[in-house]
C-alpha cells in the first residue's frame, strides 16, 4: 500500500519534466495533483482567516489603547486602586477590575477543578457503559445553557441560599457568581479530562491491575498521572473560560469596581465593566470608550499568560506512553 502510493507520486513528478508523452493514467495523476493543490489552498485560507482575525483584534486593541494611554499614564493605570473613568473625578486604576476578575475566577476554579476532575475520573474509570451514556449528555446539556441564565441563577437562587448561611452577604457578591461560574465550567473540565484519561492505553491499566492494584489505585496512581497533560489542558481551558466569562459576573457580582480579594464582597470584573460601558452610548474616541479597549487588552494579556503557562506545563508533562 505504502510503496504503491510512493511509486505513483514518483511517476507524477517525473511527468512534469516531460509532459509531451503523457499516458492517460499519468494525466489523471496530474489532474488529481491540481485538485489537491486547490483543496490545500482553500484549507490554508481557512486557517489564515483565523490567524488574520486574531491579529486584527490585537491591532485594534493596541491602537485604541494607545489613544487611552496618551491621556492616562501607564503608572497610574497599574498602581491606582480606583477605577472611575466615567466620573467627574476620574481615576484609571485597572487593579480593582483585575482583582475582581481573579477573585471570581479563583472561586470558580475552586469549584470546577475538583468536581470536574472527580467527574472525569468517575466517567472514565468507574462508570458502567450505561451510566456514562446517561451522565455525559446531561453534562453536555449544561454547556448549552445560555450564560445569562446562569447569571440569574446565581443572583436569585444561589445568593439567597448563601445568605441563609451567612446573613451579612450582600446581594451582589463574587462568591455566588464564582460558584455558579464554577458549575458552568465543570462540564468543560470533565469532558476534556475524561477524553485524556480514556486515551491512556489499556496496557497501562492492565500493568497496574496485574500488580494487584484496585480500580481506585489504578485510576489515581496510574491513569491520572498518565493523562496529566490533557488534564492540565482542561484546567487551562477552564481558567480561560473563567477569566473571560461575562454575564454571570455582570449580573451577580455587582458592577461596582472595588479593590478587594474578599469573595463575600461585590466587585466588578474586567468583562463586567466592558459590557456595562459598551451598553451605554459613549462617543468614539472619548476616554470612556478607549478605556474599554485598555481593559480588553489587559484581559487579553491575562488569558494569554494562562495559555502560555498551560503550554509550558503541558510540554513538561506531555504524555509519554
Amino acid at each position: 500500500m505504502m510503496s504503491a502510493t510512493n511509486k505513483v507520486s514518483k511517476n507524477s513528478s517525473s511527468t512534469t519534466a516531460s509532459l509531451t508523452t503523457v499516458s492517460p493514467r499519468l494525466a489523471k495523476n496530474v489532474q488529481r495533483h491540481f485538485k489537491e493543490r486547490v483543496i490545500e489552498f482553500i484549507l490554508m485560507l481557512a486557517a489564515l482567516s483565523a490567524v488574520f482575525t486574531t491579529f486584527a483584534i490585537v491591532a485594534i486593541l493596541l491602537y485604541e489603547s494607545l489613544g487611552f494611554f496618551k491621556t492616562v499614564s501607564i503608572v497610574e493605570f497599574f498602581t491606582s486602586k480606583e477605577w472611575t473613568p466615567l466620573f467627574e473625578d476620574a481615576h484609571y486604576g485597572i487593579m480593582p477590575l483585575v482583582a475582581g476578575t481573579l477573585t471570581t475566577s479563583a472561586v470558580a476554579l475552586a469549584v470546577a477543578i475538583p468536581v470536574g476532575t472527580i467527574a472525569a475520573i468517575y466517567l472514565s474509570e468507574f462508570a458502567s457503559h450505561r451510566a456514562r451514556e446517561i451522565v455525559k449528555p446531561i453534562l453536555e446539556l449544561l454547556v448549552g445553557v445560555p450564560t445569562i441564565v446562569f447569571g440569574y441563577f446565581a443572583l436569585l437562587f444561589v445568593t439567597p441560599i448563601l445568605q441563609k448561611i451567612y446573613p451579612e452577604l450582600p446581594g451582589f457578591n463574587m462568591l455566588s457568581a464564582g460558584i455558579v461560574m464554577g458549575i458552568m465550567i465543570i462540564p468543560y473540565i470533565a469532558s476534556i479530562a475524561e477524553d485524556a484519561m480514556r486515551a491512556v492505553p489499556m496496557s497501562m491499566r492492565e500493568g497496574s491491575y496485574a500488580m494487584g492494584a484496585t480500580r481506585f489505585q489504578t485510576a489515581i496512581r496510574v491513569v491520572t498521572p498518565a493523562a496529566v497533560s490533557g488534564i492540565v489542558a482542561a484546567y487551562i481551558l477552564g481558567i480561560s473560560r473563567a477569566v473571560g466569562e461575562t454575564m454571570v459576573v455582570a449580573v451577580a457580582a455587582g458592577q461596582q469596581p472595588t479593590f478587594t480579594f474578599d469573595p463575600t464582597e461585590g466587585a466588578a470584573t474586567i468583562t463586567a465593566y466592558i459590557v456595562q460601558v459598551a451598553m451605554g452610548d459613549l462617543p468614539h474616541a472619548s476616554i470612556g470608550y478607549q478605556s474599554i479597549f485598555a481593559a480588553g487588552l489587559v484581559l487579553f494579556a491575562m488569558t494569554l499568560c494562562f495559555n502560555i503557562l498551560g503550554h509550558i506545563v503541558r510540554k513538561k508533562y506531555r504524555e509519554q506512553y
Binding site: S203, Y209, M211, G212, P225
Partner: protein, 259 residues
C-alpha cells in the same frame, strides 16, 4: 519423562474459557506448572496462548462478560484461583505478569518498582529502598540505573524498560511469573539478557512463558506445551517435544511445515 519428584506449583483442570462475545478460546485444558521450572507455551497465532496465560492472574476479570469454566489449582494450599469467592487481587499478588510490550507507569524508576508494595500499603522507606534495590538487582538492571532512580521510567531503552517491568513484578516476591512474549518487542541483545534473566529467576519462582520463537522455547524452557485452536495438543519435556514429538501436528509446527 516428566520428573515425578518435582512438585507441581499450579495446574489447570478441564479449563474452558469464553470471551464475552461467545468465542470459546480454551477447550478443556489440563496442564501442570512444575515448581521452579519454566514452562513454554507455543502455537500459531490465535490459538489461545495469551488467553490461557491470562487466566492465571484473572486478567480476564477486567472485562465484563468473560467466563471461566473448570479450575486452576494452586499448590501447596490447593486453592482454585478461578473460584468466584477468590479475590482476583489476592491472586495477582501471588502471580505476577510481564507483558509483551514494556508498559512502565508514568513514574520514576524507583516508584515503578515500588508500585506493587505501595498498593499493598507499604510505606516504610527503608523496606521499600531494600526491596527496590533487590528487585532491580534481580532483574539485572541495578548497575545501569542505580544513579538515576528518580528519572522517569520512559527515559529507559526498550530492553531496560522490559527489565524494569520484570523488576516491578519481582518486587512483591510472587510465586509464579507469567510472561507473554516478553522479548518480541526487543532486539537480539536485549532478548538474550531477558532470557538469561528468566533462567536465573527459575531458582526463585515458577515461570509460564508464551513465545513465538521456537529457539527461545527450546533454549530456556524445561517443559513445552503446544496449543492449537484452543486445544492443548501436546505437553512434555522440552527436549522431547523438540526432538521426538508424539503428535504429528506438533512436529509439523516445530519443523515449520505449518504456521
Amino acid at each position: 519423562m516428566i520428573n515425578a519428584t518435582t512438585p507441581i506449583k499450579a495446574e489447570s483442570k478441564d479449563l474452558n474459557f469464553f470471551y464475552s462475545n461467545g468465542t470459546q478460546a480454551l477447550k478443556g485444558i489440563n496442564m501442570p506448572l512444575y515448581e521452579n521450572k519454566i514452562t513454554a507455551l507455543i502455537g500459531p497465532s490465535g490459538c489461545g496462548k495469551s488467553t490461557f496465560l491470562r487466566c492465571f492472574n484473572r486478567m480476564h476479570d477486567l472485562y465484563p462478560g468473560n467466563r471461566y469454566e473448570g479450575q486452576i489449582i494452586m499448590h501447596p494450599d490447593n486453592t482454585n484461583i478461578l473460584e468466584k469467592g477468590v479475590d482476583p487481587i489476592e491472586v495477582r499478588m501471588r502471580i505476577s505478569m510481564v507483558f509483551q510490550k514494556p508498559n512502565p507507569f508514568p513514574k520514576s524508576i524507583y516508584e515503578n518498582v515500588a508500585y506493587g508494595l505501595r498498593v499493598r500499603g507499604e510505606s516504610n522507606k527503608r523496606l521499600l529502598d531494600d526491596k527496590v534495590e533487590e528487585a532491580l538487582k534481580g532483574a539485572a538492571l541495578w548497575n545501569e540505573v542505580k544513579d538515576r532512580l528518580q528519572d522517569l521510567a520512559f527515559n529507559l531503552s526498550g530492553g531496560q524498560q522490559q527489565r524494569l517491568c520484570i523488576a516491578r513484578a519481582l518486587a512483591t516476591d510472587p510465586e509464579i511469573m507469567l510472561f507473554d512474549e516478553p522479548t518480541s518487542a526487543l532486539d537480539p541483545i536485549a532478548t538474550a539478557n531477558i532470557e538469561e534473566l528468566m533462567s536465573e529467576l527459575r531458582n526463585k519462582l515458577t515461570i509460564l512463558v508464551v513465545t513465538h520463537n521456537m529457539q527461545q522455547a527450546a533454549r530456556i524452557s524445561d517443559y513445552t506445551a503446544y496449543m492449537y485452536l484452543g486445544d492443548l495438543i501436546e505437553y512434555g519435556d522440552t527436549d522431547m517435544i523438540f526432538t521426538r514429538p508424539t503428535r504429528k501436528e506438533t512436529e509439523d509446527y516445530i519443523t515449520g511445515k505449518f504456521g
